[in-house]
């Protein structure tokens, strides 16, 4: 019996193997059957299986990648290890659980401010005690009945006391989970949100795919109060979802649902049909058929399979039929709505900063034209350009408005494992990082930023927006792409902007381009080798970036239509400023130099800070 028989019987093969990658990174062959090498595939698989680091070098023994938050889901053998290890430890302390559940968040206090804040709380406590004594109240609660103006102070004390207890439980949990206390060079001081704690929380968020700033906020606290196996089970379902969606070639995930439910379309029969949430529907069906729909079932599944089983394991599952609009070549397009747009600089001529609130955030919608209807299949938050720091040719940083072009475009090329060639305007400080190289700390070029990689400016996959060339001319490329990104806070935060590109979390960018490549006619071009190198001076050393390839290229034939809507222009300026603007508080040797203008300069790396201090939200 072979798999084709299973397929013939109406089954879908879901790849559970450790060498699974999404379609954009799958093994491809040219027209003669010769393999086409995708340089990033090996690294991607190494990251999924905890075998390699982001540079493609072997991971230290016992190290874990925890990259779900960045779109790289753990391989099933990695999940198997988690389940088997965690079955004997829940890391939930029943006695401490009420303390965790008593707070929604834990206020961030920087290590430098810890003592100051404690002194302040101590003063408040003293003040309230004196007031209680004076008012002849038996308790502080009785005091605020008599003097309601003191209630906020009492509430602050109570909240901080509860947070202190919760913080102690968080420390216990992260230690039990092996995330706190084992990192060299980051010693943790009990009760303090120091670097060790920050790194442990970040690891925890990455492991559990929690899109929150790096602090103890609601979703993070919720996950910290759950048993390890329950979190493992969620991780399994998330990983399974990507594999099922990839195997079934679907994208609908309920993200287009509105207040009145899912959008509708008229089927060939004349009936009104709703756009289904196929990602959920199919994942549930697959999990249920494989007995993975409960943590206990999943544990039993992993217990009966050896790690080596996951070398090339596949499952044949029966999924409900796809909607009638599915076809080999679908009339798809992308619509980007820029939402509320501010052209004004966020500071005035006196260097005073001004907030630029937005009610409508940018979105990217994947549309289908079917039977004269426009059907939205998926809609996700994305980014548009804004004010960004940029290094001018005189070596100084300025602000520059890097907007997102409006109007019709096309995507002709999709690149997996794309490389961003940092333009000379990139702040140099973001192009260097420290790393342990062969047992010694060394400064190297920050290839994380350049790619290929999940952290790079283009993420794991990018589609290039161009205006098609007419009469044999080349396409016009103004550097705008819709691409994956690890900078999720720039996508989901109130003050997040890009350099003009439309960012999606890596896993959604992967889903979208996987879907497009499945349902459009595609020519596989393969690796695009190049021999780019550039030197730059940083402090007392020269750094040389060497880029051997642009990535692995697919060509859509015909190209995919894209339309970028202007959105609503807020503020005084109705057109963007097209010159450098000096950064507030900085001294410059003279007037700003002229602007560079290369397509790559539009993408920008995450290291190029936004005027409001980067994408990191303050707590």
């Amino acid at each position: 019996m072979d798999a084709q028989a299973a397929v013939a019987a109406g089954y879908t093969l879901v790849d559970l193997g450790d060498d699974w990658t999404p379609y954009i990174l799958a093994e491809q062959h040219d027209e003669t059957g010769r393999p086409l090498q995708n340089r990033y595939r090996r690294v991607f698989i190494g990251l999924e299986t905890d075998a390699l680091d982001s540079d493609g070098e072997p991971l230290e023994p016992g190290e874990k990648n925890h990259l779900e938050l960045y779109g790289i889901f753990p391989a099933f053998s990695v999940l198997r290890t988690r389940f088997l290890e965690d079955q004997s430890r829940s890391c939930v302390d029943a006695a401490g659980q009420p303390a965790l559940e008593a707070v929604e968040t834990v206020s961030y206090v920087s290590p430098e401010d810890t003592r100051k804040v404690e002194r302040r709380l101590s003063h408040i406590r003293q003040e309230l005690e004196e007031a209680r004594h004076k008012a002849h109240a038996k308790t502080l609660a009785a005091l605020v009945v008599k003097r309601p103006e003191l209630e906020p102070k009492l509430k602050l004390l109570e909240r901080r006391a509860a947070e202190k207890l919760a913080m102690a439980e968080v420390e216990k949990r992260l230690t039990c989970e092996g995330l706190l206390g084992h990192k060299k060079g980051h010693l943790h001081t009990t009760g303090v949100y120091d670097d060790a704690m920050r790194l442990a929380v970040r690891q925890f968020q990455q492991k559990n795919m929690i899109y929150e700033a790096n602090y103890l906020r609601r979703k993070t606290m919720d996950a910290l109060s759950r048993a390890m196996l329950d979190n493992d089970h969620d991780a399994l379902l998330r990983g399974l979802r990507e594999r099922v969606v990839d195997a079934a070639g679907v994208v609908e995930d309920g993200s287009t649902d509105g207040r009145n439910g899912p959008p509708q379309y008229q089927a060939a029969s004349g009936q009104r049909e709703m756009v289904r949430n196929l990602a959920d529907e199919y994942t549930k069906a697959a999990a249920s058929q494989m007995g993975l729909d409960t943590a206990a079932g999943a544990l039993a599944f992993f217990a009966r399979h050896r790690a080596t089983d996951f070398g090339h394991l596949r499952a044949a599952v029966k999924l409900p039929g796809r909607p009638e609009y599915y076809a080999p070549h679908m009339d798809l397009s992308i619509v980007v709505d820029r939402g509320d747009v501010w052209y004004d600089p966020p500071f005035d001529e006196n260097d005073h900063w001004h907030p630029q609130p937005r009610k409508h955030y940018p979105s990217l919608t994947l549309m289908l034209r079917y039977r004269n209807q426009n059907i939205p299949l998926a809609r996700w938050r994305t980014t548009v350009g804004g004010w960004r720091a940029e290094q001018a040719s005189n070596g100084y940083e300025y602000y520059r408005y890097k907007g997102s072009d409006i109007g019709p475009r096309v995507i002709r090329h999709v690149t997996s494992g794309p490389v961003w060639i940092a333009p000379t305007s990139t702040p140099i400080r973001s192009l260097v990082k420290g790393k342990i190289i062969n047992k010694s700390w060394q400064q190297i070029v920050n290839y994380d930023e350049l790619g290929p990689g999940y952290l790079s400016a283009y993420g794991v996959v990018a589609g290039y927006f161009v205006v098609p060339g007419k009469d044999g001319r080349n396409d016009f490329d103004n550097g705008i792409r819709a691409h994956g990104s690890s900078d999720y806070l720039s996508i989901y935060s109130q003050n997040g902007y890009s350099h003009g590109c439309h960012r999606l979390p890596n896993h959604l960018a992967i889903r979208m381009y996987d879907f497009l490549l499945h349902h459009r006619t595609v020519r596989v071009e393969g690796d695009a080798p190049m021999a780019f190198s550039r030197q730059f001076l940083f402090k007392e050393s020269v750094y040389e970036m060497r880029i051997p390839s642009r990535g692995f290229i697919f060509t859509l034939e015909p190209p995919l239509p894209v339309n970028v809507l202007e959105g609503e222009i807020k503020g005084n300026l109705k057109k963007p400023i097209l010159e450098y603007v000096p950064k507030p508080g900085l001294r410059y040797p003279g007037p700003p130099p002229p602007l560079p203008n290369s397509p790559e300069a539009r993408a920008g790396g995450s290291g190029a800070a936004s005027p409001t201090g980067g994408a990191e939200e303050s707590p």
Binding site: M1, A3, Q4, A5, A6, A9, Y11, T12, L13, D15, A26, E27, Q28, H29, E31, T32, G33, P35, Q37, G56, A248, G249, G311, H312, L313, R314, A315, A316, K318, P320, G321, Y326, P328, H329, Y343, E349, N350, D351, G395, T424, I428, N438, Q442, I444, L517, H518, H519, V524, Q535, F536, L537, E540, Y543, E544, R546, K574, V581, P582, R587, P589
Partner: protein, 183 residues
Amino acid sequence: MTSGHHRYRLWGAGLGAASLAALGWALVTTTATQAQGSPPAPTPTLQAGEIADGGTLPAPSITPAAPSPKVRIVFKTIPPGPATVSWGKKKLGFIKPRAPLVVERPRDSGPLDVIVRAEGCVPVHTRAYTFTDSTLLVKITPVDKKNTLFGYREAPPPEEDAGAPASGGGPDAGASIPLPTPR
């Protein structure tokens, strides 16, 4: 792209299609590597294998000769001169004016981040890849020519001048410059 014409076998017992239907699902393993991403669809056929001319690529028929397990990386400097190449704690060797340094590394073993140092010159941090044999020509810059390198920063004017109005009353360094008018 390929369509998967490879054979699978059922994981566990050799079940037939009828048994599959009864079970609801089954695990299968490949006996040959299947090109990924061309999975069969539950309803209409996925056309992942379709290419521009509408055809479908044949299954891989060419077995390329296995590449050697090691790659050869040649280090040279421009201008030619003596230099040392180190990789973390390890000194990989010396580049001599007429004898480049040749290093062998396992193929696809990840990049090699090295520092090239020549006397009187700014050290160069560069990277060699292990995808294939390669030659690295590393440009070396004397310390006294540092100002020719990209990223070199001219010092700002002395503090006492900063903010002072320039002749004609225009803003000087450090003074806030009026925002340019939009175009």
